[in-house]
Symmetry: C2
Subunit: 187 residues, 2 copies
């Protein structure tokens, strides 16, 4: 049989797309095989745990990307307010300016939250705390930093919901722009 020299990591983005489009329950094996081009045999070879393991792997990959590209810089970058700006820019790019849904947020709303609860909660908690740390380092009082950080993370999620609900991606860009103003260090 044809061998498709596929790496497990190569198909994670495709799996992510399927879960984003259909949710966990709606992402049937038929959808997954169609999108990835892999038969069930290959799929279960790479992910013996089935759909659950696939979703966990995708969540883990997303988490890793944000940890490396967003959270870590917020916590440790020499220039905290530049790190905040970078966060907004990378977030806008990642979510394709509001045309892409947040898989973690999607899972949070559904009943799969119970299955991936720790991963989902950890992702948002670390985002919020890393942003609060950056704002504190930038000179904000701790209390303001915490509130602002929570507000920013929540606004990003809400903007994704509203952009998709209204089928108006520009909503997301406007929200990011407002956040830029709100998170800026007051001079």
């Amino acid at each position: 049989m044809a061998r498709t020299v596929t790496e497990r990591a190569d198909i994670l983005p495709l799996l992510g797309e399927v879960f984003r489009e259909h949710g966990f329950e709606g992402a049937s094996l038929a959808h997954i095989t169609a999108r990835t081009g892999l038969g069930k045999g290959s799929l279960y070879h790479f992910f013996p745990g089935g759909k659950e393991e696939m979703a966990a792997a995708v969540l883990n990959e997303i988490d890793g990307w944000f940890e490396a590209n967003v959270f870590a810089p917020l916590r440790a970058d020499a220039d905290p307010s530049a790190a905040v700006d970078d966060m907004l820019e990378r977030t806008d790019t990642y979510f394709r300016s509001g045309r892409r849904v947040c898989l973690v947020g999607l899972f949070a709303l559904g009943d799969v939250r119970d299955r991936f609860g720790a991963a989902v909660a950890g992702y948002f908690a670390r985002w919020r705390d890393a942003l609060a740390a950056a704002l504190t380092r930038a000179g904000r009082p701790a209390e303001d930093a915490t509130a602002l950080a929570e507000d920013a993370v929540l606004a990003i999620q809400g903007a994704l919901v509203l952009a998709r609900a209204l089928d108006e991606p520009a909503v997301f860009g406007r929200a990011i722009e407002r956040l830029r103003g709100r998170l800026q260090v007051r001079s």
Copy 2:
């Protein structure tokens, strides 16, 4: 056979619960019959269009509630800033202080958005516009009012996502509190 003198309207809240818990795809007829106590015969008697008609009816009921209790007052109440306060309070009550998910937002994220696109978009658009109208009437410049309204609607949705993701309902209350400050008429 036992007759359960049920009104169609009486089971809408139960249907809402099932859709909220499992999403559209996940809300199986088995779940629905279990929750409502109605057999498939009765269900299809009330909703000949099946699940799709059930979901549409639930969305319509939700929309009606918000239209009467939130949107209309925002547009026409004599005291616009009191209407804004009422909106926040009723929203907090409706979403059980962050313990309840927004079905419209949930549908917006999933692939069912395409099926109920008009209802979903209409709900959020009318919320945003009604709030903008109230803020304008309260003396805000039109541009500020529009931006503030969009930001508030989006923050409510995001707060619901984050509250559920972190399993921390208090997130919602804090978001509402911040909105109260942001939407207040500056004296």
